[in-house]
Every structure is written in C-alpha cells, then in structure tokens.
Point group: C2
Chain length 354, copies 2
C-alpha cells in the first residue's frame, strides 16, 4: 500500500517540481505562492467531479485525468484568461498504482500542453472525488464576463455542441432503437471523455467578444445565465446550430435535445457586437476552432424580477400569442425562416435526475 506522501511524490510532486515557472513556491509548503503579471487579475475557478454523477465507475482513468482538468481550463477559456496553475484535491477509495499512473498521465498531458502547473494539493481516503481549482491571468478590462451582453449582439457558439450528450447516451444504451454506426459512436464517446478546452479561442476573443461562458450544462440553460446577468433576452435560430456529421445522422428530435440541452460539451457560447464579425472570424481562425452565429441578443422589459432559469426555457410560448409582459430571461426559438418554434427543454441540474 502506498502512503499518502509517497503517492503524492511519485505521481504528482516530481512532475510538478521539474516544471515550476510561474509559482514562486509550489507543492510541499502550507500554501503555494503565485502572482499574476503586472496589470493582470487572477481568474479562479473550482470544479468537483464525483463518480456516478460526472463520470461512470468504469471510466478510463486517463480520460478522467484529462477531463478533470479540461473542465477547469474551460472556465478560464470562458473568461478569456491564460492558464497559470492548478491545485488538485482528491479522495480515493484505495490508491492503485496503475490507476494513478494513467490518471496522472492524462492530467499532465493536458496541463503541459497549456503550460498549467500543479502548485498544490491534498489527498485523502474516501469515495472517489476530484476537486480542481485553476488559476489564470487576464486584464480586467478584457475579461469575458457574463454580464456584458448588449441588445443587438450576435450570439455565437464554438465547435459542434451535442456530441458529448450523444456519447453519454451511447455509453448508457439510452437509444436502443436508434442505429448508430461504430465510427459515430467512437466520435461521440471521445467528445464526452476528451473535451478540448477552448483556451486559445478564449484568449483570441478577449477584447473582441463581450459576454462568454462555457457550455457545461447545455446551451439553452447556460445561455440563460448570460441573459439573466446581462438583463437581456435572445432569439436563437435553431436551424443555424452547428452539428457534427455524426449528430446530423440522428433523428431531428435527438439532435436538438443533444445540441441544446446536452451537458459536457465545453464549447464557448459568446456574444459580440455585429461590427466585430470579421474580428471574431479571424480570432477563431487563429485559434483553429470553428465558430457559428446562431442568433441575436434582444432587449428585455425589466418590469419584473427574473423567472427562475429553469422555468424560463419553457416560458416563452412563441409566435401568434398576443403581446404581453415578456418573460425574462427568455430565449425565443426560431427556424431558418424566422418562424417561432415551441421547444420544451430541460436544463441540466446536478440535484435533479438527468
């Protein structure tokens, strides 16, 4: 049996030490010491991953190491921040060397790729649980905040959202009557297990885009967070949603459920002034990521307190209704012709059954 100290040393501290650049003091003291560059703020985000909720008990540990850090780097990306370092706290039922070797391998492969150092941590015995806190730096004026969207802004999304949700359905065998060929199933599963944080895109968009977030709980539910904090509404053209070739082969209802209400994509959803269309396209090209315009931010009448985010997805009842007090925050769904669509979507909530 490995002791806590030899475990940390063998799989984590040694790799961290060979690698220290931005931290004045890393693993092995009471605290790590770090500082953002002059004129920059420190961006901080924390995420906890729990077995059975965020990953399945038989998950490939290499994929888990990748994803645990990826979801945190994705939060930095959504802020337009450059990764600096992270802390890792985890509970393990029983330290197994092959498991730790694969887990730390997946973790550091991604960390090294983005120059993000391990600067501290904590390990303990207990049901499998991973808690990562990540640090980045960003100029305060360039931070992509959720409260910065304005009426008239375009709404954009990166990549092809929905594939991760389809991957979960494949793993769970949720769609026994839907034919999915092996290559598509592999594509979906990889989207679920190895999401790529859009760090380069976030950095390229800092100073160009206004509001941004990463899509962890589903595009529809997450967009509402921007609308709520920015005190605006949105119209979204459902036919403009960028779908992967694999997702486009599924029945239309599943496509929309996955692309709009599926979690775990970690694509960026952001708004930018129409005058910035060229700059957004150039930023995306520089980052090597596809971006797609899917709608417009609209003004909201601020007469009432906001409905709950969950209720608001279904609250807008579309076209031919007579003008009335408009719900806020609300998304008006349209098709390519501009005709309203009635969609009932359920956002992802960690205390509800999926």
């Amino acid at each position: 049996m490995l002791s806590e100290f030899s475990l940390i040393d063998r799989y984590f501290a040694r790799r961290a030490r060979t690698n220290t650049r931005r931290a004045a003091l890393g693993i092995g003291d009471d605290c790590a010491l770090i500082a953002p560059a002059a004129g920059e703020m420190l961006a901080v985000s924390t995420d906890m991953l729990v077995e059975g909720r965020h990953f399945l008990p038989d998950v490939d540990p290499r994929a888990l190491g990748h994803k645990a850090l990826a979801v945190n780097l994705s939060d930095l990306a959504a802020m337009g921040a450059a990764p600096l370092g992270f802390t890792l706290a985890f509970a393990l039922p029983k330290p197994r060397e092959d498991w730790l070797e694969a887990f730390s391998g997946g973790l550091f492969e991604l960390a090294d790729r983005y120059g993000c150092e391990l600067i501290g941590g904590d390990t303990t015995a207990g049901p499998l649980n991973l808690c990562i806190t990540v640090f980045g730096s960003v100029r305060e004026a360039h931070a992509l905040r959720r409260d910065a969207a304005r009426p008239g802004d375009d709404v954009w999304v990166s990549g092809t959202p929905g594939d991760a949700r389809a991957g979960l359905a494949v793993l769970r065998g949720e769609w026994p009557h839907v034919q999915i060929d092996r290559a598509d199933a592999t594509h979906f599963r990889r989207a679920l297990e190895y999401p790529e944080p859009r760090v380069a895109l976030g950095l390229a968009l800092a100073g160009i885009a206004r509001a941004a977030l990463d899509v962890s709980d589903g595009l529809a539910g997450d967009l509402l967070h921007i609308l709520e904090r920015s005190r605006v509404n949105a119209e979204i053209d459902v036919d403009a949603l960028p779908l992967s070739v694999a997702l486009a082969r599924l029945p239309r209802a599943l496509q929309l459920q996955c692309a709009l209400a599926g979690g775990d994509d970690y694509e960026l959803c952001f708004t930018a002034a129409q005058a910035q269309r060229g700059a957004v396209e150039a930023a995306a090209q520089q980052a090597g990521v596809r971006v797609t315009r899917i709608g417009t931010i609209t003004s909201a009448q601020m007469t009432a307190s906001p409905a709950s985010a969950e209720a608001a997805v279904a609250a807008h009842d579309g076209a031919h209704a007579r003008p009335k007090a408009q719900a806020w925050p609300a998304i008006a769904w349209r098709d390519a012709s501009g005709a309203p669509l009635n969609l009932t979507l359920q956002g992802f909530d960690h205390f509800h059954a999926d």
Copy 2:
C-alpha cells in the same frame, strides 16, 4: 427538493454578495477575479474533508462549517498570510435545509471574523465531501516557508497541542479505563470541533519567525517536514511541551501520544533565531496566543538521502549509542534535564489506519 441553483443562492451566494470587497468579480461567472495588493504574492491552499476520515457522520453541521474553513485559514496562518477569500466545492447526498442553515452559519461566522470572502464554488450530488481553496496575501520576503529553519533556531509551538486528539478519543470511546470528567471532555471535544486558526499569530510572526507550519497531522510528524525541507535536525524537550490543564490530568503516556502524534490541533510550530525571543513573545502577546519554546534546530550531516519522514521519528535511538552516521531528518527527544528519551510515535497518514 432544492435545486442546485436555489441552494447556492439561498445559503451561500446572497451572503457572499453583500460582502464583496476584495474580489473584482465573485460568484456567478465562470471564474472569480482577484488580485493581491501591489508588492504581495497570493498564497493558495486547498483541503478536502471527507466523512468518516476528517469528521464523523453525526458531526454537528455548524462545527463542520467552522472546521472546513478553519483548517484552510490555518494554512494561511502558517504562511504568515492575510486571508482574502475562498472557494467552496461540495458534494452532498441530499440537500437538507436545516443542515445547510447550520453548516453555512458556522462557515460564515468564521469567514466574517477574518474578513475572508466566498468568491466561487461548485455543488454536486454525491457522498458528503467538502473542498475549500483559500486565498491570502503575503509579501514574498515575509512568507513563513518550511525551508527556512537554521541550526541554532529555537523551536516554538502555539497553544496546547494534543487536546483535539483527546477529543477524538472521547468521541470514539477509545480509553474506557481512563477517568475523564465532563468539563475536560467538553474542552477536548471543543478543541477537535472548533479549532481556532492562528491567523493573527501568523501575521504577527511574518518577518520575525523563520520556518513555520500548522500542526494538522501531529507535532512530531509535522516538524519533520520543516527538518526535511530545511535540511536540519532538531532536539525537543518533551517536558517543555505546553499541555492544557485537562490534558495534564491524563496518564503521561497518553499526554505524549496526544501532544506529539495527535492530529487536528492547527497550532503553529515555528522556528526563530534566538535573538528574536523578545520579538516572538511580543508578537504572541499582540495576537493573544500563548507560545512556548520546546527545543532547538541542530545541523544535520547531509551525507545520505533523507530517510522517509515516517521512519525518521523512530530512527534516532538516543543517548549512550556510539557516534554514527546521523539520520536525517530526525528529532532527538530530551527530558528537562537534557537526558535522551526513547519515544516511538506513529505519524498520521491519511492512507493508513489511524
């Protein structure tokens, strides 16, 4: 059933928002944005608390809220850093309002007392697990690092270590043949459940003390971390250990086991030059905390690689042995007359049985 969003809002975000001073952006975005003052470094520490390991299943949730933050503030104290803020990630089997009310009450009572803001978090369903990452600020030259002890330094400890371990023994009924009166049992239990982080002492010692850490796993084992990183040894006068009145009423063997190998005290163990004795006493008086000199840092022959920290506690075999290659890191235990003592102590390791 509370949803994740209403839970965060009701018990955490509202209290955090009314309180925001140091964070440019707090709860509700992808990241929090914070910055240390000019000329200061950010001190960062993370701790995970797991049911059955760090607290018992029937723990008072108010005590748990206090302790979860206290152990993190203690890491800042051991660095000489001033608290700025913290993130809280937790998994709960089932959100119960009375539990959350008491837990958040204990948490914010302590947070408010030290001006430490909640700046971000994450909640999920799962076996009870708390992960706090805390942020403080410190001048880099004043940070109380573990690698700064020098031969000739005094070794100091704050408070009366050992009471928390006795509290655990009382809760577990470990000592059925030892008579402990009710007031002493209450004192021990309070030491276990409501440890007071030595933040004021750590701040007062910054620039005066050399090396420091907080005693979370037992004085003997934790002191070895200073010895290892500073490449020194130590002589400790066991009769100088400051004991509470309650602990001093226990059999001597239990006193020593609790005071030297008992975890969860969160007192500071630190070294300072002999010329600083007056300054250390003045700092302690200013902070309102008792400090006691318990020994001296000695030089170590650096001929071999260090023995494991666990082995080294027992490796020094005391007096009348002939001179030989000295173990390092090692603690030589003495009594008040300077005579060597043979002590066998087991340090605390989260992957071993206690």
